[in-house]
Structures are given as C-alpha cells and as structure tokens.
Amino acid sequence: MDQLSLLFDGFGAALTPMNLLWVLIGAVLGTAVGVLPGLGSAMAVALLLPVTFSLDPTAAFIMFAGIYFGGLFGDSTAGILLNTPGNSSAIASTFEGHRMAKNGHAAKALATAAIGAFIGGLIATTLVVFFAPTLVKLATVFGPAEYFALAVFAFLAISSVVSESVVRGLAALGIGLALALVGIDGPSGTARFTLGMPQLFDGISIIVITVGLLALGEVFHIASRIHRDPAATQIKTRGRARINLGDVRRALPAWLRGTAFGAPFGLIPAGGAEVPTFLAYGTEKKLAARRKDPEFGTTGSIKGLAAPEAASNATAGTAMGALLALGLPTSATAAIMLAAFQQYGMQPGPLLFERSGELVWALLASLFIGLVILLIINLPFATVWAKLLNIPRHYLYAGITVFSMLGVYAVSSSVLDLWLLIAIGLAGFMMRRFNIPLAPVLIAVILGPMAETELRRALAVSEGDLGILVGSPITITLYLVLAVALAVSGVQHVRHRRTRKDSEPAVQAVDA
C-alpha cells in the first residue's frame, strides 16, 4: 500500500504545531462563513487568497482544506434554525432539519448534521486516498482532444443540464468565456481585448472575478432587498448539540446511504452537492413512506436530515480527488481551489502528484485533520456558532465589502482592478436579480483557457480535421454521456413546461 506510507508522510508534514494552527484557523473561518447566510467556502477562499500570498503554499492549502469542509459543516445551521438555507447545498437538509428544530429538537438536529458531515467527508476522503493514483493513471492517457472533451462536458453539464434555464446557463457560460479571453494569448503572444492597457496583458485576475461575483454581487443583492424582505425568525437553542445512542443507531444507515449518493457526484461536473443531497433526501422520503415513519414530514425525521448532510460532504471530498488528480473542478468551490493552485504556480492534474507530491499528501492529510477539528468545534459548540446569526447584517456586509476591496487591492495594488471589481460586482447583482446562474461563469473562467489551448493543440496536430475531437473511445464516451444527459434534461424541461401550462391556461391567457 504505497498510498498509506505517502499519507503517513503527509500526516508528518501536516501535524506540526504551526500547520495545526492553520487548520484550526481554516476550520473556524470555514464554519463561520458556512453559518452566515449567503456566504460560502468559495467566497471565503477567494477573499483569503490574496492575504495568504505571503504564506508558504503548504500552510495556505492546509488552511484552505479547513475552509473547504468547514463551509459545509456550518451551512445547515442557518437552515435548521431559521428555515433559510444560506447555501444551496443545505436546502435538502433544511426540510427535515427545521421541522426537528420547530419541535424542540434543535440541538439533536445540529448534532446530526455535524456528525453526518464528518462521516460523509471522512469516507469520501479515504476513497480519494485509495483511488487518486488510479485517477492519475487514467489522466496520463488523456491527450488534447480528451481534455477538450472534459472541458466541454463540464461547461454543458453545469450550464445546461442542472441549471434552471438553459438559455440563462449558456449566457453565464458565454460571459465567463469572454472574461477568460482578455489578455495575452499564450501560444501566439497576441494581445486580445486589452484595449491597449498593459495592466490587462495578464488577463483579468481570477480573484477580481470571483470576489466581484460572489462577494460584491451578494452585497448589492442584499442592498436591493434588505429594506423589503421580511427578516426570518430564529429558533432559540441552549446548551450543547447532543445526540443519544439510540438516535445514532437510527441515523447511521442514513448517513451511510447519503455518503453513497454523494461520493460519485464529486467526480461529475454537476455543480456540487445539490443533486446528490436532493437524491439522498428523496430516497429517505421513499423509505420512510414504506416504513410508515410518522415523523417524516411532520415532526422532523432524523434520517431525512442525516442523509443529505452526509451526501454534501461526501461530494466535496471526492470533488477534491477529481480536482487534484484530473485538474477537473466539479463545483464552483472546487473551481476556486483550482484557481488557488494556479496562483501558486501549480497546475492540478497528473503532474501535480509527481512535482508537488509532498504538498498533495500533506493537503490530503490535513483534510482528515480538518474533519476531526471541525467535528470537535462543531459538536459541542453548534449553538455558539448559531450566535453568529445575531451579528447585525449591516456590519457583516460592510465588513465583507471592505475586505473585498482590500483583497483585490492587495493582489497588485492596482486601482484599475478596483474599478473592474465594481463592474463585475454589478454584473453579479444583475445575474442574481434575473436568476442567471453564477457557477458557469466561474467554471468557464477557470477552464476556458485550458479548453482553448487543448482545442487548438488538437486541431494543429490533426491539421484542421475536426474528426480528432471524437477520435478516441474516451472522447466518444464523454460526448455520448453528455448527449444523453442533455436529452434527459431537455425532456424534463419540456414536460414540466407542459404540465404547468395545462394547469393554468386561464391565468396565462390573461397575463400574456
């Protein structure tokens, strides 16, 4: 078992007092942004990237490991106590979680969520340790055409298959690809869309784009609604999150089922944890109906909460594997992590294990350490974290705004970047206002340059023959799977539109 000895070396590197401190800082920050509605690990990593430039890469990534999982530990807290899931990965946990809280089981719900997140993350990270070398071997047979197919798969899966509206998803994809085009074209040295400004020769910084879309865009969005939407009421909890042995025994199968749903989805670019969490919730619901479980849907079933929570962290765990071994970001958060690697001059993918093996295994080890620390700081103190929800929202968003400006200015001390940040923030607000998904923009910005380079490389080799793009079993399989997924989601969209039209013909006619 080669991996085990490498992993033990990784633990050796990660278990220094200084690195433990970084994991702890990451875990605390991650949980905090997870608890606060509207913020997530993606934004936290983007905001912290510029600040961590002066750290050595291992320390920075160890901290990011804590943030990465931490965001998913905290995200269900707001959903359970306020019935307003702060992040979409927590929506499925909210259904039964909030019912439990309303019926006086808030502490039990918080504990179930924390343990579920721990189990899902633990199993998934273990899988990554054992299967990462296999993925790396798979990736070494990938040529330009295969990488291009992978990028196309990611683009269309995120913008069309899972998104609310195909047109809006593709619009987001187009915006992202356009942003990625700015700068000097690597292969030819041509300046593209820079308006002659030397500051733009390196392209628009990925930090400007992420911070603008995720942080400033959210601030604008909050500003547009804060005086209009009613505030949610919080269910008060006291004491520690606690759970007894009987509950653990009832929740354990659900935790494991949730993990089984979540783990495969980390490898598919389906945008993150939403699809597996809903699948897990749906399965628990069917099982509850078969068992005639009276709690489900009324007073709140512990299983209906346990499964989606485990699923979301399991997805995050294997997503890290796909990112490290293939260089493929399968969710917005993974895309930001990929950007973080690029900022440090590293390219995730098969070569990363060879060139920066020490860092990779230290990172994997710190994912385990991070999970343990997260369980320790979440299980006894879940109700303390809930106090974060009492921070006045104006201080919270004012702080985020100032931090966004600080982070972007710290990258290159450029005022032009700040103007760009404001413009992209307004674009992020526009997209939120009209329900245009943000994830395709991030994926396109990160994978766009790779897609372009590989496409041109493939066509240069084949001297313009498009056949090379579908010339290998791997590419054919990828495109076929994509075509089936697109067809299924197309049928879905049409079916739902039809049933909706049938049910409301009169209103439609009046309103049109």
Binding site: T94, A178, S224, Y409
Partner: protein, 210 residues
C-alpha cells in the same frame, strides 16, 4: 420554500407581488432585456476586438479562432434570451433564492419527490421598482468614492468611509457609533497588514503627517 422560489412565474399566478405602481408599459416584466443588451454589447465588443486584432504568428488555428466561437455563442444566447423574454414576460417573485438559478428547481423537486408546488403569498409592497435602487445607489456611491480617493486619502479614511456608508445604507441608525467602529476596523486592518503580513496599503496624506 426555497426551491419553489426559483420559479420565475410562480408569483404571477398568485398575482400578489406585482409592484402596484408599475401598471402596463412594454417593459413591464421585461426588464431582463437589460441582460440581453449586456450580452449583445459583450458580443459586439468581442467582434470588434477580433476583427481588429493584431495577430502574431501564423499558427492555425490562431488566436482569433476561439473568440469567434465565443462570439457565436454570445449572439445566439442573447437572441434566444430576447425572444424568451419578449414571449414570456415575468415579474420577479419575492421569495428567497439561495442559489440564484444555478439548479433547476423542477429537477431537484423530482429527485427529492417533493410535491409540485407549495404556494406562499408574497408580502404586498408599495414600491415602484422591484429592487431598492436607493440602497444600491448608496452602496455604489461608497465603492466609487473609495476607489477614487484611496490613493489620495489613504486606506484608513477611505475604508472607514466605505464601511460607514454601507452600514448607513443597510439600515443602521447609529451614525456616530458606526463611525467609531469604521475607524477601528480600518485601522486594525492597516495595522495587521502593514505589520503582520508586510502588504503595503496606501497611507495617503496622513502618511506625510504622521
């Protein structure tokens, strides 16, 4: 609840969240045309940039190849969006959108076996526009001012102003207390960054005095 909230036409059926002041008019329910305009503008910018590009090297496919593909995508999507908005105008629903259209609510509902819809009446409002443009304007003013005066006034004063105006815009009614918090926050960051991380934030004219 949340996932039903991402259905743009859900509010229309109940007819309760129509901004009362906005009766009739072509743009009613069609404000999303703004997005189409932005997409067309982006496409035209890319087209002009591609046409006037000073191409280096002679490799095929060259640096113009991919931008052309992106242009085609943008024109197609902008046109499709225009048609869709013209055919199905929709007023915004006022419910919570945790993920802003990233996921199809129909798909998630099918996966979870949730009932088709849960009706929820939206609170009736008396505002003219859906978005609160006064608050957005204040936030934008703060950001623009910050960027414009950063190098002149230095980090502490600019950042404190930005923090303060956003608190004010988002509804804080303790301006004097907020001013103190803002100055403390901005100074703490300056101190942490200059001393701790070695990043230099502009000190502005205060730097000359201190």
């Amino acid at each position: 609840m949340s996932i039903t909230g991402s259905r743009p036409d859900a509010g229309r059926r109940q007819g309760t969240d129509n901004p009362p002041a906005a009766e009739g008019g072509f743009l009613r329910g069609r404000s999303e045309l703004l997005v189409a305009v932005v997409l067309y503008a982006l496409a035209v910018f890319l087209t002009v940039g591609t046409a006037t590009m000073n191409v280096q090297g002679s490799a095929t496919p060259g640096p113009r190849f991919f931008p052309v593909l992106v242009c085609i995508l943008l024109y197609a999507v902008a046109t499709a969006l225009t048609i869709s908005v013209l055919r199905n105008p929709s007023v915004p629903d006022t419910r919570k959108h945790p993920d802003h259209g990233n996921f199809s609510a129909d798909m998630l509902r099918d996966l979870a076996g949730l009932p088709a819809d849960r009706t929820q009446t939206a609170p009736a409002g008396s505002w003219r526009t859906y978005s609160d443009w006064r608050t957005i304007g204040l936030v934008l003013l703060g950001l623009v001012t910050f960027t414009a005066v950063l190098n002149l006034l230095g980090w502490i004063l600019s950042a404190a102003f930005l923090f303060w105006i956003i608190c004010y815009a988002l509804g804080s009614r303790r301006p004097a207390f907020d001013a103190g918090v803002s100055l403390l926050f901005a100074s703490a960051i300056q101190l942490a960054f200059n001393a701790g991380l070695g990043l230099n934030l502009p000190s502005g004219f205060l730097g000359g005095l201190l």
